[in-house]
């Protein structure tokens, strides 16, 4: 980090935090603190929702995902527009008219208290774990840039986020997100332009795209169906529709954003903006990863992008043959790539096919060497299932981006993390206070009392997130880890809301037992079956709905006939 990088970094972060806090002044009642007094315009909500999703994980992990696996991850977002349309037509008006603080408050109006409590607890478990992963992501940045231990940086980022969230509430979170999206877009464009400019002069942008495609990095749509395959068009259209229905329809961290809208139309517009903009944005980020891959076809990358682990195994004798294999494969790939470009330009299809084969074979050699190095890490006391996917983009940024841009990219990563984490912690505090504390422990207290309780709950969940940070790195790619954790719980939550909106005859006890059955089946699959996580949401939802319907229509009516309860005034 050079002086200019520090200036850009500090200026960006301080201005974001101060602007957010400035816009949040007057958040001195519970509805202003948790729902911004329902005064937010659609564009602020839209950008806030987008910024929350485009957290540090997006930059760190998605680009790395594209580098090693191609762009097929974009298919995981194909269900987003479908889900948004369904939510805008059903959930948004229902929540707005019910005048609720949380999605789970609605479940009590529709079912009963125990269903609301179970849904709240499931949300707290799921989002609490995800919040840990979110806070952990930028610790990777600082550990690479500054050489600080990941644990210490996690604590530092966590403390900053908690302080900011406790003071600002949802209004500060939302307005700082708006500013962040500007910086995020700027950072994305700067990163892509830089990587293209850094390509050798003999390689044009068109050549780079061609080489990325020849290496299988531009596989945006894959049509083969496989239950074990995480990303294809079928899991994208079906599985991710359920995932996003759950995320935007049942997850308080998102629901709370559009509950702040000053009208139902503003809330709908904020979601539909995301339906239109999210997939192109994700495509763009993945494309940057593919271009970083092409850049490293001509500039030799380290065997592993996790420098600390690489430094450890480099001293070992067993590493030398790995390094030699890697260097040989790199040279072969570079030669094959240049020959492939020549053949492509000349229009010689036979030569191009031959060179493409050589190019892919050399790539396999590189992949094998990297796999052997990763095995060495594991065999010598490193973490099991070692993966350096999350380090690829940052390694490129810190080594090759010019002064100022490094600071900008790191500011984007840190600011996005602070926003995403603060939103999560804010929603966790909201559910804790509104759905549990106010409902079961302290009814009828003053507004000031609940405001104070919300601030204490925010502090608690911040500490909880920091405690669980680092757990995500054991799950491989962070972007996938976030979705895996969500998918373990989302199907059941979604099933419960499907029952609430679609099946008027279903009562509370049937929904409650259905959720328990859904969770049991999803966890059984997670531990004992190898099925892509995108299907967890579908399976969980179907089991919840099926179980509840079976109870409703098959069990003796008196057995599970729970009278609907009214929430306290």
């Amino acid at each position: 980090m050079r002086a200019l990088d520090w200036i850009v970094l500090v200026t960006s972060l301080v201005s974001i935090v101060l602007y957010g806090l400035y816009r949040a002044r007057g958040s001195n009642t519970v509805d202003r603190y948790l729902l911004a007094g329902r005064t937010m315009p659609w564009y602020a909500m839209a950008l806030s929702i987008m910024a929350t999703q485009a957290s540090a994980v997006t930059f760190i992990s998605t680009t790395g995902q594209s580098y090693v696996d191609g762009m097929r991850f974009v298919q995981a977002y194909f269900g987003l527009p479908i889900a948004m349309v369904v939510i805008c037509a059903t959930v948004v008006p229902a929540f707005a008219r019910a005048r609720v603080y949380t999605a789970y408050e609605y479940l009590e109006q529709r079912f009963d208290t125990k269903t609301r409590a179970l849904a709240s607890v499931i949300f707290l478990c799921q989002r609490g774990l995800s919040a840990g992963i979110t806070i952990y992501a930028p610790a990777i940045v600082l550990s690479i840039i500054l050489g600080w231990p990941e644990r210490a940086t996690t604590m530092l980022v966590g403390a900053t986020v908690v302080t900011y969230t406790v003071i600002g509430g949802i209004k500060a979170v939302t307005w700082s997100d708006v500013q962040q999206m500007g910086i995020i877009c700027l950072g994305l464009v700067a990163a892509l332009v830089t990587v293209v400019v850094l390509l050798p002069s003999s390689v044009s942008f068109g050549d780079a795209v061609f080489l990325a495609g020849a290496a299988g990095r531009l596989n945006a749509v894959t049509t083969n169906f496989d239950w074990n395959d995480r990303f294809n068009i079928w899991s994208g259209l079906i599985g991710s529709t359920f995932l996003f229905l759950s995320y935007f329809g049942c997850d308080q961290s998102q629901v709370q954003r559009y509950l702040t809208g000053r009208s139902i139309s503003e809330s709908r517009l904020s979601l539909l903006f995301n339906a239109v903009a999210k997939i192109p944005m994700q495509f763009f980020i993945l494309f940057i990863g593919a271009m970083v891959f092409v850049f490293h076809v001509f500039v030799q990358p380290p065997v592993l992008f996790q420098h600390a682990e690489l430094a450890r195994i480099e001293r070992m004798e067993a590493f030398q043959p790995v390094a030699q294999q890697y260097s040989r494969a790199f040279d072969d790939r570079q030669k094959a790539a240049l020959a492939l470009v020549e053949a492509h330009r000349a229009g010689d299809r036979a030569a191009a096919a031959r060179r493409a084969g050589e190019y892919r074979m050399a790539q396999e050699g590189i992949d094998q060497a990297r796999t052997r190095a990763a095995e060495l890490v594991e065999q010598t006391g490193g973490e099991k299932g070692f993966s350096d996917t999350n380090y690829i983009f940052l390694s490129f940024v810190t080594r090759y981006l010019p002064a100022g841009l490094v600071g900008l990219v790191i500011a984007v990563v840190l600011a996005a993390t602070m926003s995403a984490s603060s939103g999560e912690i804010n929603s966790l505090a909201t559910v804790s206070v509104i759905d549990l504390y106010k409902r079961y422990f302290r009814r009828g207290a003053s507004d000031r009392h609940y405001l104070l309780a919300s601030r204490w709950a925010t502090l608690f969940w911040g500490a909880y997130a920091v405690a669980f940070a680092g757990w995500g790195k054991k799950l491989g790619s962070l972007i996938v880890a976030v979705n895996v954790v969500g998918s373990l719980f989302y199907g059941s939550l979604l099933g419960c809301f499907v029952l609430a909106f679609g099946f008027r005859r279903v009562r509370g006890t049937a929904a409650f037992l259905g959720m328990l059955a859904g969770e049991a089946v999803v966890f059984w699959i997670f531990f004992f079956r190898n099925i892509s996580y995108l299907w967890y949401n579908v399976i969980g939802c179907v089991v919840v709905v099926g179980t509840a319907l079976a109870i409703t229509y098959l069990a003796p009516r008196a057995t599970f006939a729970t009278p609907r309860t009214q929430p306290p005034g």
Partner: protein
């Protein structure tokens, strides 16, 4: 703690009805998938 106020439900700012906007979003998704599929095939 006071209850939350009711918020209004205005018509959409364009295309007249929300149903038309939803259809437009779904058509957009179909176009996007076709474009990505052609992109994948072109560079396979």
């Amino acid at each position: 703690m006071p209850g939350l106020p009711q918020v209004p439900d205005d018509p959409p700012p364009f295309l007249g009805t929300w149903r038309r906007i939803y259809v437009a979003v779904l058509i957009y998704l179909c176009v996007l998938i076709v474009v990505f599929y052609l992109f994948t095939r072109a560079y396979r």
